[in-house]
Amino acid sequence: MSATLAHPSTVTPEMEKAQRALIDESTRVPVILFYGSAIFWLLIGTLFALLASFKMNAPTFLDQWSWLTFGRVRPAHLNAVAYGWASAAGIGTALWLMARLCRTPLRYSKLLISAAIFWNIGVLLGILGILSGDGRSIEWLEFPNYASFMLFVAFGLIAVWAILMFRFREPGHIYVSQWYLLAAFLWFPWLYSTANILLNFQPIQGGAQGAVNWWYGHNALGLWFTPIGLATAYYLIPKVLGRPIHSYYLSILGFWSLALFYSWNGMHHLIGGPFPAWLISASVVASVMMFIPVITTAINHHMTVRGNFQALKWSPTLRFTVFGAMCYTLASVQGSFMAIPSLNVVTHFTHYTVGHAHLGLYAFFTMIMFGAMYYILPRVVGWEWPSARLIRWHFWLVAIGIGMMVVVLTLGGLLQGLALLDPEITFMASLDYTKPWLFLRSVSGLLLTAGHIVFAVSFTLLLLKTGATRTEPTLFGSDQGRQPEPLNV
């Protein structure tokens, strides 16, 4: 071990355990605030998703109220899940990870509590704004100015907090997860403010708006959700298995190549649009270069779990996290292929793209966040999850639900895209091809809804500390006399 990692010989495992408990406890209020509001917005966002999906099957469903027309419900869904759920869940996870990786109790929690309040007011105002007709027709940035400003304040507070936490970290190695988290915390406020200024506050003109729109839309995934999701996987998979990451070298290479290539992405959303060809080509090349960080991550996660796949049976956290990590590879490889113009010509403007979006933000990111919540919440609340059965129901409902959704949207989207390219088929007929697939999509949405309700119940029961009293929750590390067989180290 290097000198920086060596512990003074006076530090005993008991002291390390106490220190870890102290760190976990210090994150309690902000983590529960962000997680609680995330789960609230998940339920609201799911409701909008169901409404939007039903409207695809029955276009006149609830169309007598302008508030509930498709053009408002659909962006309300996107923003509720992207900012209300995914971002807040990501921030909650990142706060806890930052404290653990800085090896110090969380400081300045008032900054974070204020951020959570600003955050929720922003999302609430934004959703109400969209529903009342105040939204903007800019995908991912539909929130009106008064809402996006609130979110920016929250992002700013969190970024300042992250820098302060990092400044006061205990000396030692900076684990790969921490690189990802710092990057996310610093890149996103810049991304969000630049895109909002150029599109909403001081709008640039004409086609350039599309370029800014998709630079933001794609990098919100790549420089915000992806780093947080990967940071979580890089911490939880080794930690749950008790096995260091397969190749740490590759993980560092993955981080820096992501930093180098990802921000070039985005313009490939505009293939065929009125844009300079070099702009789109640069993005297509960068999309393909993303194979480097994606493959390094895939190799690492797979090789770390390899030989221990039976662990998925006993660890709820690992089950969700590994599912998410596998879907990260799938979504990213799919994304790189979708950027290749000859394939994009089929998938553009079809439900295939919607399937890809759900594979990324749900099957990858959301599943990893569920896994993180199963690991983190018992430790910060000091109470075991009340029911293993609820966790299993949650997993199978959402795993089958999202699997089905991605498959039906992919197949339906391909048929739709091929029909759109066929001059013999009218546009109306190309829509008929999608009908059965969209019905199945609504069914998969119901499965996801059921899963989310199960999870919300589980979360509430945990916060109420129901179930048998366990002073030493069983999910916690200490083994209660059952020391796992040691690995060959």
């Binding site: 403010s193 200024i197 008790g242 993980s251 221990n308 049976k313 709820p316 067989e485």
Partner: protein
């Protein structure tokens, strides 16, 4: 007004791009890329050492021990 906004945006670009480069330079200089295998173990400690699994369903504790095999972790 427009000019001020563009100057601010350009400054932001330089600042954030520059901070990434500065972070990379600092990481290389301060030895973050040296002794990577030890770095990979920095999330473990004496209480939760390598080899200790830390999460399980409440009713699956008995199944928890990891398999010992040739394919498990190599230092």
């Amino acid at each position: 007004m427009n000019t001020i906004v563009y100057i601010l945006l350009a400054a932001g670009l330089v600042l954030f791009g520059g901070s990434t480069l500065a972070a990379f330079y600092w990481a290389a200089k301060s030895g973050q890329f040296r002794n990577l295998e030890a770095g990979s173990k920095s999330i473990f400690d004496g209480d939760e050492p390598v080899g200790t699994a830390t999460d399980a369903f409440a009713d699956k504790m008995a199944d928890r021990p990891l398999r010992r095999g040739a394919d498990s972790f190599r230092p």
